[in-house]
């Protein structure tokens, strides 16, 4: 794990829920404008499995718990997903490691993973060579 990832930004109580809430708030995501399909997240917590459905229609995003046909299924522990949703774990790394197991359309996952946040950044590195201002 990176140094940056270990140190904290203020912890969110339920990073998974706030990640999905944030998706709903976005409504439309230009990064996904060429993509359509449904991702199902199976988040395992002991015996409980929480299902989240994210439907993408040329960039329009809808989130629900309602059963629907999925193009991509992602299975992982709820605690692992909490880390991914808060940027403390990289989604692609968790796939390589076998902690996040995808099934079905992997292209959709590749497109979607761009929406996960980056690692929390320690204050110190802000003054180094990254200018935080967003261009333009």
């Amino acid at each position: 794990m990176t140094v940056a990832a270990k140190r904290g930004r203020k912890a969110v109580k339920d990073p998974t829920r706030s990640f999905f809430d944030d998706l709903v708030a976005r409504g439309h995501e230009p990064l996904l404008q060429n993509d359509s399909g449904t991702l199902r997240f199976d988040l395992v917590d002991g015996r409980r499995v929480e299902h989240w459905y994210v439907s993408i229609d040329e960039g329009d995003i809808a989130v629900s718990h309602d059963d629907a046909a999925a193009d991509t299924i992602l299975r992982t522990g709820r605690s692992v997903f909490d880390q991914i949703a808060s940027g403390r774990m990289n989604a692609l790394v968790s796939v390589l490691r076998g902690e996040l197991v995808p099934e079905g359309d992997v292209r959709l996952l590749m497109a979607f993973q761009r929406l996960f946040p980056g690692p929390p950044r320690p204050r110190a590195s802000r003054r180094t060579n990254v200018r935080e201002r967003s261009p333009r």
Binding site: L92, R97, V106, N129, V130, R131
Partner: protein, 680 residues
């Protein structure tokens, strides 16, 4: 020993063995079966009656297939064997090996045939750096197969070995008790298949269609690839041979990202760099555009899918940044290496926009330009935002991952490639000159796409204004007045890093050089200090760090020269471009049509042949692409509107040259030329 190694490969799966077909991995002989950057087999040794075999001959029939002719016994000069052993191996998903034994005797024989098998499941990075493993190993017999396994937490990889003939299987190999009648034969087919633990299902799904491919289908695929490419007719044997070889090597270098079913892009080099590299995949796609434009389309899509969206110091990732290198092994999985993917390159991002525009100019595929609008804009934004580390309007680089990140993020990525005349090396950040050229070109081309496809004239105007401003500042800040050329970089204090280098040629290619300065620049490129007779040296003779066999400080890089030739054409220096083409193509004749990554910078009249620089990786994608781009520059091919303009300037020695069926927005077109430029 490594010169005797036999390599076969398909995508990112490859087998490296000795001339007998055996694998006994050691530190100095990195042999094995590799897939997804993991070694799945590190021991694979054949014995007959306890004896090792002796290689009579080895054929690498195709890049994915090899045949080994063997006899029992080793070390003797005189071989009189009553047995022949043939191993025919083909790579697909893992590999298959057809093992045949012929009995030449008039009496039957009883043999014990054994294959020892084992795996260390090393990550490619561990193979390179000899690191120790952290997980645990298993080996078991399951339904007659030998199954090797490795596990570290949830990370699991395995190797399944099966045989078509009955074998006694133990945890270290397979033994066959064989009776072969007089003048008879025996055969078995072995399969070695990588497994991926919990990811098995998805990998199987993605690899479908790859695993079933047999040698026959592979051969037809290669034939089709060659048929689809333009044909070359030429008086020069060297040109014809080099072209044929480049086409086949380019086929071997194709790498199909799992997420884009069946489409391929050029990987960087064979076999250790069979993965997606931003810089290498883009440069090679540019070189190959007149021949195989579909490579560019896949490169653009695949790199776009993986474009940076976050700030991540470990990966040197920024929003809009195009990746440097992607890897799938254990060290990447546990973040001991940042390649998931790693973004530490500063040229790939502007070059991404350059490729998108050049691709559209050739193919007219505006749909791809529309699909990638968000990515292209993000790349253009990155140039003026995150890449401008010093806030001075220039791209520069300094890694944020100080442990495992790359220090040098431009194509000359060795530690001493950037220096002042006196050999001193600047600190970081560094703003190398070619990056500013790429940025200028990206803005100009981005403006064209904005106007033509994205229908955003205001954005196009803004980009052109920025480009003009950049060009003006660049010609003031990088120009070395008393030398008449451009500095290789500006250091952290804005001071010129003043060694004379081949980077000046890339500046011509990008169009950032003021017309009035071009003649002086060309004078340097073609002058004695930079031009060796074979090509332009990476660094000029007489500079503090100049060394004719120094990686980026004096050797000649074919790839570098192909872009310099393109730059010379851009500024109208046709004859100079022809001289470079002549030198590089003549050199390729000494390498059997396969240009190495680099060769020595010794003067041509001194050595008479190009002295190869030793590298681990051959063929190298952008060296393979070099003859293709040189064909383009010699014929002066330039897409203008719906037409392909042909304006040949060929060296005399080449004679008559025809390039037939050049694909593009015009359908297919032929180009002709005759050598008239005196080169010596």
């Amino acid at each position: 020993m490594s010169t005797d190694l036999v390599q076969i490969l398909e995508g990112n799966t490859f087998v490296v063995s000795d001339a007998r077909g055996d694998i006994e991995a050691t530190l100095t002989d990195p042999t094995g079966l590799f897939s997804f950057d993991t070694r799945f087999l590190s021991r694979w040794v054949l014995t007959v009656n306890g004896e090792r075999l002796n290689a009579l001959s080895t054929d690498d029939l195709h890049y994915y297939e090899a045949r080994f002719f063997l006899v029992p016994g080793t070390g003797t000069v005189y071989i009189d064997s009553k047995l022949s052993v043939i191993r025919r191996r083909a790579v697909g998903f893992g590999f298959s090996e057809e093992l045949t034994i012929l009995n030449h005797d008039e009496a039957p024989v009883a043999l014990e045939v054994r294959l020892e098998a084992g795996s260390d499941f090393a990550d490619l990075f561990e193979v390179k750096d000899a690191l120790k493993k952290k997980g645990s190993y298993t080996s078991r017999v399951e339904r007659g197969d030998l199954v090797l396994g490795y596990r570290r937490d949830t990370f699991e990889r395995g190797t399944r070995i099966s045989a078509s003939e009955r074998a006694k299987v133990d945890r270290a190999g397979l033994t066959f008790k064989v009776r072969i009648p007089a003048h008879g034969s025996w055969a078995t087919e072995l399969h070695v298949t990588p497994t991926f633990g919990r990811l098995e299902k998805v990998v199987q799904e993605l690899a479908k269609g790859r695993r079933a491919k047999r040698a026959g289908a592979m051969a037809r695929g290669l034939e089709k690839w060659v048929e689809k490419a333009p044909r070359v007719e030429c008086d020069s044997d060297v040109v014809r041979r080099t072209y044929d070889r480049s086409l086949v090597d380019l086929a071997a270098l194709r790498f199909a990202p799992l997420t884009l079913s069946g489409q391929a892009l050029p990987a960087a080099g064979l076999p250790w760099f069979m993965t997606m590299f931003g810089r290498d995949s883009i440069f090679t796609s540019l070189q190959a555009l007149p021949f195989a434009p579909e490579l560019a389309a896949t490169t653009l899509r695949a790199l776009g899918e993986r474009q940076g969206t976050r700030l991540d110091d470990f990966r040197d990732e920024d929003p809009g940044r195009i990746l440097h290198e992607m890897r799938f092994g254990e060290m990447t999985a546990f973040e001991e290496r940042p390649h998931s993917p790693y973004y530490g390159s500063v040229d790939a991002t502007p070059l991404y926009v350059v490729l998108l525009d050049e691709y559209e100019r050739w193919t007219g595929d505006t749909r791809l330009v529309r699909d990638l609008e968000v990515e292209a804009r993000a790349a253009l934004n990155w140039i003026d935002g995150y890449a401008d580390l010093q806030g001075n309007g220039y791209i520069s680089y300094k890694r944020r991952n100080e442990e495992t990140g790359l220090e040098n993020q431009c194509w000359k990525d060795s530690w001493d490639s950037i220096s002042y005349r006196d050999g001193t090396i600047p600190g970081f950040p560094r703003a190398t000159c070619e990056l500013q050229g790429y940025a200028y070109d990206a803005k100009m081309r981005g403006a064209r796409l904005a106007r033509l496809v994205w229908k955003d004239a205001a954005y196009a105007d803004a980009l052109e204004k920025q480009a003009a401003d950049l060009k003006r500042r660049f010609n003031r800040d990088f120009w070395i007045e008393d030398g008449g050329y451009f500095a290789i970089a500006l250091d952290a204090d804005g001071r010129q890093v003043d060694a004379l280098t081949s980077n000046n040629g890339h500046l011509l290619w990008s169009g950032i050089v003021d017309r009035a300065k071009a003649k002086a620049v060309v004078g340097h490129l073609m002058g004695k200090r930079l031009f060796s007779g074979w090509g332009v040296r990476t660094m000029a003779e007489g500079e503090g760090r100049y060394n004719p066999i120094g990686y980026h400080v004096g050797t000649v890089w074919p790839f570098d020269n192909s872009f310099i030739a393109w730059g010379l054409r851009r500024y109208g220096f046709k004859e100079e471009a022809a001289r470079i083409a002549e030198g590089i193509l003549a050199a390729s004749g000494f390498f059997d049509g396969r240009l190495p990554e680099a060769f020595g910078g010794y003067p041509r009249e001194m050595t008479k042949y190009p002295v190869q620089y030793p590298t681990a990786c051959s063929p190298q994608a952008w060296s393979t692409g070099t003859p293709l781009l040189l064909l383009r520059t010699m014929l002066g091919l330039e897409p203008i509107g719906e037409h392909l303009v042909v304006d040949p300037a060929l060296p005399v020695g080449i004679g008559h040259l025809e390039l037939l069926d050049i694909p593009g927005r015009w359908g297919r077109i032929d180009a002709f030329g005759r050598g008239r430029v005196q080169t010596s």
